[in-house]
Symmetry: C2
Subunit: 246 residues, 2 copies
């Protein structure tokens, strides 16, 4: 048995999220069925750095799995990509330390979120950015974000369904980059809770449209109450961009 | 009755091309059904600058139609976009001269064609660029393209099914722009025959991969025989980018 570390990219549009669910097309389900084919029917289980929801995309999701197959690394890539559907690709695959774990060993993640600001909806971006179409006050947004950087209890910014008890996370970077009619949010941190990036985006957008004051961000954090934060922004604007390992 | 000129954008992925066909989802069919709704059941017929095939996209297709409705121009845009599905948008609409014709008045067109050169297929571009993945000799391609610029009989570069008898067209520009893992072809001319851009791309790519010599382009033109040119490149890499009017 050898352990493999694998970087994958997927367009989340036609997946019911990452995790296997009965009767649904999921990223995990599709990859496991390809690996099972390559192992002549032996079920191979994969583990990811984290789940992604329905419609959420990934450019650099990391998974790992164990295999007894003696195949050169470069052939793994071809073999998997030949069998995978065209909305998932394996970008990189390499042998890893037998103790490597895609989730527990991750030291940080980068997520990106795209918002379209054009007044006319862009058919080419309908599944890839949140078509908001409103004007935003970047100064207020930048002001609000200062309160989020650093180590905080992010209970207010995760789904009420979050099961994890320790909701303290460290956000290293939040930045906005405008390009044409689109605004890209970049989030880098040591880890993110369930729905955290989407709730952060939803709340920052409420600051950008003037529905919340920048200083409210601090109060929302302190309240530790999901209902104080803004709406959860739609999944299809979100990309798991990169997973970091030390 | 007033005539309206309308600029539309569509993602061609889920359309069986522009032109109405029984039982098929087409761009013309979808727009006419929206206009018919706005006219309380009276069928409104639209005319376009030209057809696009299945899977082919448009960023600046121009259509025209006549309507008796007294609606301010800015409300037309909203009314149509509210009823249209999210893979078509109206970008601009304005009253036009009653004699304006989207096809006969067009003085030129720009098409763009995208080719992905990455060795790993990109899930996000699967419907938007031709995933070729091979290396290209740009010098040879540029050399071959010189023979195509100007006014020529393009019989060798249009579908054998082309019904138009006059196959003389003028190409003003063919250029290649590389951006990351993608190569963009830009074609500007006074008009293009059926499948002409896709056959040009297919033939230029055969020069780029060394299967044809650059000077063969001249011979192919002179033969006036479709079978001498290269393969028709896939439709999903092609965009009708802009239509020009004097």
């Amino acid at each position: 048995m050898e352990r493999f570390k694998c970087k994958i990219m997927y367009d989340g549009t036609h997946f019911s999220g990452y995790q296997v669910q009965p009767e649904k097309r999921t990223v995990q389900g599709v990859i496991e069925s390809v690996l099972t084919k390559l192992h002549k029917g032996t079920h191979i289980r994969i583990s990811a750095s984290g789940r992604t929801d329905a419609g959420v995309h990934a450019r650099g999701q990391i998974i790992h799995f164990d295999s007894p197959l003696q195949i050169p690394e470069e052939n793994w890539l071809k073999a998997m990509n030949t069998l995978l559907p065209d909305d998932i690709s394996v970008v990189q695959i390499s042998r890893a330390d037998p103790g490597f774990h895609s989730r527990f060993d991750a030291s940080g993640k980068e997520y990106r979120y795209f918002v379209s600001l054009g007044t006319v909806r862009d058919p080419f971006r309908r599944n890839y950015s949140y078509q908001a179409g409103f004007k935003l006050d970047y100064e207020a947004m930048n002001e609000s974000v200062k309160h989020l950087i650093g180590t905080h209890d992010f209970t207010s910014f995760c789904s009420a369904k979050t099961e994890v008890e320790d909701r303290v996370r460290t956000i290293r970077t939040i930045e906005f980059v405008e390009s044409g009619d689109e605004l890209m949010f970049r989030f880098v941190g040591n880890g993110f809770l369930y729905n955290m990036v989407r709730i952060l985006v939803g709340t920052i957008l409420e600051v950008g449209t003037g529905r919340k004051r920048p200083s409210e961000m601090k109060e929302i954090l302190e309240k530790k109450d999901r209902s104080c934060a803004g709406k959860t922004a739609p999944g299809h604007g979100l990309y798991l961009w990169e997973v970091f390992y030390d």
